[in-house]
């Protein structure tokens, strides 16, 4: 089974090559992309099931044994991210095909999208720091292409900021990786915890800070977030939806890994400060904005704060809550951006001042916005509530009152800014809409179907909260247990050597 771990990376890469060959046949390109996405999702689910039964899976590729080879490792956390990532990419792909924007119309959209999918899978499966860097480069490179695909004026402007900032992040990451290698002589995630623990505290803290800056830039945490609300709104909605749902979460995924496996329990005061400031500054930025897409972009930042809070708290309970929170955030954020795309398709704009009364035009569309919006704010019984209760409970257990208060204030402010979108776009008199009958919508049905599917997925996470939360607890146990990951990586290596 562990041999198949490479498939969630190889299938989309094969898809990318095939879609490149099919540039002259639009329908064929779409078919290849959808088939490759479905196959990737199926493989990811297979990995998830297998990992939950057998524990962490690992494989060494490239004909070398474990410490030198390109290691692919799937523990429960990685497998869960793999599945939710593949699901989102598939849903957004169908949405983009339905939207028939100038963006998906480009022959380069599908190849870039497939490479993005391979990069996301590779990042979650990477078994050492350098391969993680390479995977991030793969997904960043295709994201550069996707964000500037139309080559329009504002895309180039914001794309420039996005590319330069992410290149800087890569440079800091390589620097961190080089210094980790210099200090420990390995980059393998299985060997690193032990060797890092043996280092003097000063060196450890320095390495930790360097990696934290690199991943923090990717995850858009407090002092390093300003590139995100600037660049995301310029991209077309399906692209933004994927970026918002997945790309920042790759950074968070790396932070969870480094802070729980490589440097457990260090820099906690710093992480608490970052978490609190990220929540509050992000949500205050959102309240000041007057365009749905920009409000949502600031909310990405704000919600990252909750994930960092869980990492800062540490311990199985808090990490489980963090994993659940990340899991819930991905579909919620994606669906909100997809709704924004539908709104723009209907009204030509998502500016709060120009559009109004969408709820009168289409009740279901309003519902598609309202459910994830309330979930984002953390209202029961939706999935955001479960995640936040977990985080707040472990905060109370550890008597970290300050961060709990900040988290609750952040939730209230989130609700305020969601209400701002609601009253601006959906409530009140109809405004800025085409003069058609109520109930008649102009967007392609595939768009609302895909959006609906993602919203339903968010509801499933809420109503199947019990089993999913228990899975997250098992995932948290295997991350925080320092022996489980190395044991799985060393196992197949010895097999290969014998």
């Amino acid at each position: 089974m562990s041999r198949f771990l490479a498939l969630p990376i190889l299938i989309p890469l094969a898809g990318a090559v095939l879609t490149l060959f099919a540039v002259r046949h639009r329908a064929l390109q779409r078919a290849i992309a959808v088939v490759a996405s479905v196959a990737t999702l199926a493989m990811s689910v297979a990995v998830l099931v297998q990992v939950d039964i057998d524990g962490t899976l690992a494989t060494a590729t490239g004909g070398w044994s474990a410490p030198i080879a390109i290691n692919l490792v799937a523990d429960r956390f990685a497998a869960l991210m793999l599945v939710i990532g593949a699901t989102m990419l598939l849903a957004v792909l169908i949405y983009a095909i339905g939207q028939r924007s100038s963006d998906e119309g480009s022959v380069w959209y599908h190849p870039a999208y497939m490479v993005l999918m391979a990069g996301v899978s590779a990042a979650f499966l990477a078994g050492d720091l350098f391969n993680f860097f390479v995977a991030v480069e793969i997904l960043l490179m295709s994201s550069y292409v996707l964000i500037t695909l139309e080559g329009a004026d504002d895309q180039i402007r914001s794309g420039t900021t996005y590319i330069v900032l992410n290149v800087l992040e890569s440079i800091v990451l390589v620097m961190g990786v080089a210094l980790v290698f210099a200090a420990t002589g390995t980059l393998n995630m299985a060997e690193l915890p032990e060797r890092l623990a043996a280092l003097p505290i000063g060196v450890r803290t320095g390495l930790n800070l360097l990696l934290l800056i690199a991943f923090g830039l990717k995850a858009a945490v407090f002092p390093l977030f300003s590139w995100l609300p600037d660049s995301y709104p310029a991209a077309p909605s399906p692209v933004t939806a994927v970026f918002a749902g997945l790309l920042t979460k790759v950074g968070v995924y790396a932070i969870v890994r480094t802070e729980t496996m490589l440097f457990p329990g260090s820099l906690r005061p710093l992480l608490f400060t970052i978490a609190g400031l990220t929540m509050i500054i992000g949500v205050l930025g959102a309240i000041a904005q007057s365009d749905m897409k920009r409000i949502l972009s600031f909310h990405i930042v704000s919600q990252i704060g909750y994930m960092i809070m869980g990492v800062a708290l540490g311990g199985v309970a808090a990490i489980a809550a963090t994993i659940f929170f990340i899991l819930h955030q991905i579909p919620i954020k994606t669906s909100l951006f997809l709704v924004e795309g539908v709104v723009t398709a209907e009204a030509g704009s998502s500016s709060l001042g120009e559009v109004g009364g969408l709820a009168r035009r289409s009740g279901p569309l309003a519902l598609l916005f309202l459910l994830p919006a309330l979930s984002l704010a953390g209202l029961p019984p939706l999935s955001g509530f479960i995640g936040k209760v977990g985080l707040v409970e472990s905060g109370l257990d550890q008597e970290q009152w300050a961060i709990v208060v900040v988290a609750l204030v952040g939730s209230v402010l989130t609700l305020v800014s969601m209400l701002k979108i609601w009253t601006g776009l959906f409530w009140g008199e109809q405004q800025g809409l085409a003069a058609e009958r109520d109930g008649v919508l102009r967007h392609h049905p595939l768009m609302s179907t895909a959006t609906g599917a993602v919203v339903v997925l968010g509801l499933v996470i809420a109503f199947a909260g019990g089993p999913i939360y228990r899975y997250c607890e098992r995932a948290a146990q295997s991350i925080t247990d320092p022996t489980s990951y190395p044991a799985a990586v060393d196992g197949p290596a010895e097999e290969a050597a014998s």
Binding site: I68, F130, V134, E137, M141, Y144, V145, T148, G151, D153, D154, I156, R157, S158, G159, T160, T161, I163, V164, V167, L168, S170, I171, V174, M175, V177, A178, L179, F181, A182, P229, D230, P233, A288, Q289, S290, D291, R294
Partner: protein, 124 residues
């Protein structure tokens, strides 16, 4: 680690950062190149003592091949990223005749709106 190499990394890095702080995209790209190469040199410099080529059968102390594999990958990635940035710079030049990185217009609008509200002493 040789002092000359450390000094070179320092100079490349600081020149790179200085160039990246400019508005002109061409200078930023040059800065990215400088900084990227500083880090590539760093990988080689900290990757262990120099030695003969790490080929099976060679005599003497061998250099560690892992940092060299890493730096090779990093150079290739840097090449790709630089080409992408150059393409963007060219596109920016064809659109408005310069390669300045501009401010976020929408952000400016919201900032000025808020300034006006304060001046008028009213909050909507």
């Amino acid at each position: 680690v040789s002092l000359a190499l450390a000094a070179l990394i320092f100079v490349l890095g600081s020149v790179g950062v200085y160039l990246m702080l400019h508005r002109s995209l061409t200078r930023i790209i040059l800065g990215v190149g400088m900084l990227g190469n500083a880090v590539n040199l760093l990988i080689v410099a900290v990757g262990g003592p120099p030695g003969t080529a790490p080929i099976v059968g060679r005599e003497g102390t061998m250099a560690d091949p892992v940092p060299q594999a890493l730096v090779l990958t990093a150079i290739v990635i840097g090449f790709g990223v630089t080409s992408m940035l150059l393409a963007v710079a060219y596109r920016s030049w064809t659109i408005d005749g310069n390669d300045e990185v501009e401010d976020d217009i929408h952000d400016r609008q919201i900032a000025t709106e808020h300034d006006h509200e304060h001046e008028n002493g009213s909050d909507r």
